[in-house]
Amino acid sequence: MRAVPAFRRSRSSKLVDRLMRGVLWGIAILFVVVLILFVGAILKQGWPVLNLSFLTKMPETLDAGGGIKPQIFNSLYLVVLSLSLSLPVGLGAGIYMAEYAGKGRALNFLRLCIETLAATPSIVLALFGMIVFVQAMGWSFSIRSGALTLALLNIPVITRVTEISLMAVPRELKEASYGLGATKLQTILKVALPYAATGILTGLVLTAGRAFGESAILVFTAGTNASAQFPDFRLTVPGETLSVHLWYVTSDGTLPDAREIAAGTAAVMILVLLTLNLLVRLVDRAIRRRTR
């Protein structure tokens, strides 16, 4: 009988294993550090600028000392407007895909369209918005041009999250509803959507965050000017948001305190997004605790 070689792990393979484990941990920690440094730097730079007057003053065009009051308003206004436009469409499309479309090529094609829209760069959406709303419809740089184009950004995310949340509804619940004599619409409205609601809501909040931070689209549709009147709810006036203001003040560079304003604006945006993120996590945990 031939002796079977004793297979033993070589020293080098053990070393490689330990090394690569270290590398993996290192990369992960690197990202954590990058995030902390990033957020830290932004907050540190912006902190000295953040005071009540900065947040509540109107911006200056030539002198130092301007505030960002209208930009804050415009940011919120545009998020709310674009969400109210994209929510019904996104919900409708998501419901159709999850409940009506069957499983064949139609559904596949719809998914392809949604994925394409989701992957479209925002600068391309900005171009589209420019051609259609700003120029062809004659609306020029305005809140309504911006809101409609921003809605295009939101729709694929809302659709996807609606479809996924609805498909997660257990089949037995829908069966029970149909078994009682409910129509399809009733089953969707009274059983499927309530069950999917938390998932959809989380998706909505994420979409809001994304719309809040969007700049490329708004530069070309809502413009780089803010109304001198505050608050201005009109849809026809230009609406510079925080994100656009941050970009414009930096690129334009004519303001003497451009750096400070940019730092302050960036800090405000980061703080808003951190709060949003925290809110989502808290709500998520609260809901999970309730349905246990």
Partner: protein, 348 residues
């Protein structure tokens, strides 16, 4: 024996009679309580709802076509002038194959932008793809639960930061840092910095898709590899990564899509110099490649952001910019179809 006196039932495979009591009057409801019925409104609503939801889906499909149509209407006017164009018609080669970009002298070679986009994206992917994939496998297979949680939150935050804030960070923190070193002259900018910023922007996408890819591998694969005595890393490198390859590729392609389309952050740090290729060629530095990485450059997206507001509608310059936008859009479609093909390869 069949009992024919009453109404006993017998069913045998060869069929049989069913003697039955005569009256079979329709039963009223159980307790005489209301017989529930759907109102006409309910029924109509059911039917209309179906149409409404369908309409929403069709709207989305229409948008895809609409974007293509409107971009093409302006972009293609570069080559085939339509009503309203003020410039001359350009040829494909003078646009797509020429590096000579001088709009004021009527020269519109966009190759510098294409090369710029590819360069910045390529560099970014070089950084983001390996680190992102490895982080994905780290989260899925190596990290303890608390670390997994932390990484998820970190990635969520990174993906939520707006691109202008990334740009500001690059401008106010990274660039000054780099310009203090010998690598760059003032003002430092160019590919390297943009690529690093871009890499951080797309890493969360790659990480989350990679994590999903690894988590969806059957447990038996990992267990099998380790049962044979392979180390953690050997199992990862030799078994898990190859097994997850299609989805990892998809993750990278989607990261690529995001990188190519990114406009603001890159525009703020890259220096916006359409003549970068000419500049590089002329450079006589001792370390040309390194210098090249820091040359102010330009990409398709940055040029759009930079110059679109300054061009007159209908002018050749304007049309060329829209052609660049069209190019980006078509590229997106190609990338999505590529991910579909990759995904299908996996099912085979």
């Amino acid at each position: 024996m069949p009992d024919t006196s009453g109404a006993s039932l017998i069913a045998v495979p060869s069929g049989g009679g069913f003697p039955v009591e005569a009256a079979a009057e329709t039963r009223a409801s159980v307790t005489g309580a209301p017989a529930f019925q759907h109102s006409r409104i309910h029924r109509m609503a059911d039917r209309w709802a179906h149409l409404a939801f369908l309409a929403c889906s069709l709207l989305v499909v229409g948008l895809i076509g609409g974007i293509l149509f409107f971009l093409a209407s302006k972009g293609l006017a570069t080559f085939w002038p339509m009503a309203g164009s003020t410039g001359r018609a350009l040829s494909f080669s003078e646009v797509f194959l020429s590096t000579d970009w001088a709009p004021s002298s009527d020269r519109f070679g966009i190759l510098p932008f294409i090369a710029g986009s590819l360069g910045v994206t390529g560099l970014a992917l070089l950084i983001a793809a390996p680190t992102g994939t490895l982080t994905g496998v780290f989260i899925a297979k190596l990290a303890p639960p608390w670390m997994r949680n932390l990484m998820r939150q970190v990635m969520d935050l990174l993906v939520g930061i707006p691109s202008v804030v990334y740009g500001i960070f690059g401008l106010t923190v990274v660039l000054p840092l780099v310009s203090r070193t010998w690598l760059a002259e003032a003002p430092a900018s160019g590919f390297a910095v943009s690529a690093v910023i871009l890499a951080v922007m797309i890493v969360p996408t790659i990480v989350s898709l990679s994590t999903d890819a690894f988590e969806s591998l059957p447990a038996s694969l990992d267990e099998g590899a380790q049962a044979l005595g392979s180390s953690r890393w050997q199992a990862i490198w030799h078994v898990l990564i190859p097994a997850a390859r299609p989805r990892l590729l998809t993750a990278t392609v989607l990261g690529l899509g995001r990188a190519i389309g990114e406009a603001m952050a890159v525009q703020m740090v890259i220096g916006n110099n359409p003549q970068w290729m000419a500049l590089m060629r002329e450079s006589t530095d001792r370390a040309p490649f390194l210098r090249a990485l820091f040359t102010p450059a330009a990409t398709l997206t940055t040029e759009l952001v930079q110059e679109l507001p300054n061009t007159a509608a209908g002018s050749t310059w304007n049309n060329v910019l829209f052609a660049m936008g069209l190019l980006l859009y078509l590229l997106t479609m190609v990338l999505i179809l590529a991910t579909r093909r990759l995904g299908r390869g996996k099912e085979a």
